[in-house]
């Protein structure tokens, strides 16, 4: 049981990390600092609803740490981490508020929280509020990509649930 849980989390981290690394290779559509698709969040959202907060948090943290390590920029670790943590905390609060057909809502608001976290980190690092110029554009893109990844996570959740293949064991 313990081994099964460990393997499941390791598998999820590996999947999230693969998505993250492939996404990092996609050239940015617009020169806006911090803008991205956030496809790896599909795994986090799915894990949050299927495996629970503890497992999801561990998958998220492992992915962010390893992702920054692999992509070779430790500076981005700070931005990813503050964005990721804020996004996760908000998702955690929203989890009880939505039905399983409204998972996309969590993802959109999570993406916005991620943007705010990133901008706060950038403000602290650069000691300047200049970066907030990009806040509206960043959050528009966050809403759209959040809706996309959220819908993907929701479809994944509902289909895997039907299969009953993966999930939290009954105590």
């Amino acid at each position: 049981m313990k081994v099964k849980r460990l393997i499941r989390m390791a598998l999820c981290t590996a999947i999230a990390l693969t998505i993250f690394m492939i996404e990092a290779r996609i050239p940015a559509l617009a020169p806006i600092p911090g803008m991205k698709l956030g496809l790896a969040n599909i795994v986090t959202v799915w894990a949050l609803f299927t495996l629970g907060p503890v497992d999801a948090a561990m998958i998220l943290i492992s992915r962010i740490l390893l992702g920054s390590l692999f992509s070779g920029s430790m500076m981005s670790l700070l931005y990813s981490l503050s964005g990721g943590v804020l996004c996760f905390l908000l998702s955690l609060l929203l989890r009880r508020l939505v039905t399983e057909k409204q998972i996309w809502v969590v993802s959109i608001l999570g993406a916005m929280a991620h943007n705010v976290g990133q901008l706060l980190a950038a403000t602290a690092v650069m000691e300047s509020w200049t970066v907030w110029y990009y806040a509206p554009v960043l959050m528009i893109s966050g809403t759209l990509t959040g809706a996309f990844t959220g819908t993907a996570a929701q479809v994944l959740y509902l289909r895997l649930k039907k299969l009953r293949a993966i999930g939290r064991e009954k105590p």
Partner: protein
């Protein structure tokens, strides 16, 4: 399970939010007509260049002591980051800026270039506005 907040409500909420953000994006793009480029590193203005006084293009490199290098190119009326060794190159892709509409930001190097009305640094022989 009955939803606490109807899906329709969420949709209206997001549509309103999106409209608000688009309005905000349009609003911020309409400010600033400054012609003085202030180069900030870690929040400190390290160089100010009056772009309207530039007659010949030149470039200089900004280093941060942590391995980051940004080659900044100055031309009459405009400025850009020509080369950088940061991983994402967002600063380079931003290209030339010639108005106060948007800043150049390099997150890894903690560098930003903004066109403002007043010089924030005394370098480049400008009359710095203090106070």
């Amino acid at each position: 399970m009955k939803p606490m907040i109807q899906t329709k409500t969420w949709m209206i909420l997001f549509a309103a939010l999106l409209a608000l953000l688009i309005a905000a994006a349009l609003l911020v793009s309409h400010r600033g007509t400054g012609k003085i480029a202030n180069v900030y590193q870690d929040g400190v203005c390290i160089r100010s260049i009056d772009l309207s006084a530039v007659t010949e293009a030149y470039s200089f490199t900004v280093t941060d002591g942590k391995g980051h290098e940004n080659l900044i190119e100055v031309a009459p009326g405009q400025i850009r980051v020509a080369e950088a060794n940061c991983p994402d190159h967002v600063c380079v892709h931003t290209g030339w800026i010639s108005d106060g509409l948007r800043p150049i930001v390099c997150l890894p190097a903690r560098l930003s270039i903004q066109l403002e009305d007043t010089a924030q640094s005394e370098t480049e022989g400008l009359d710095a506005v203090i106070g």
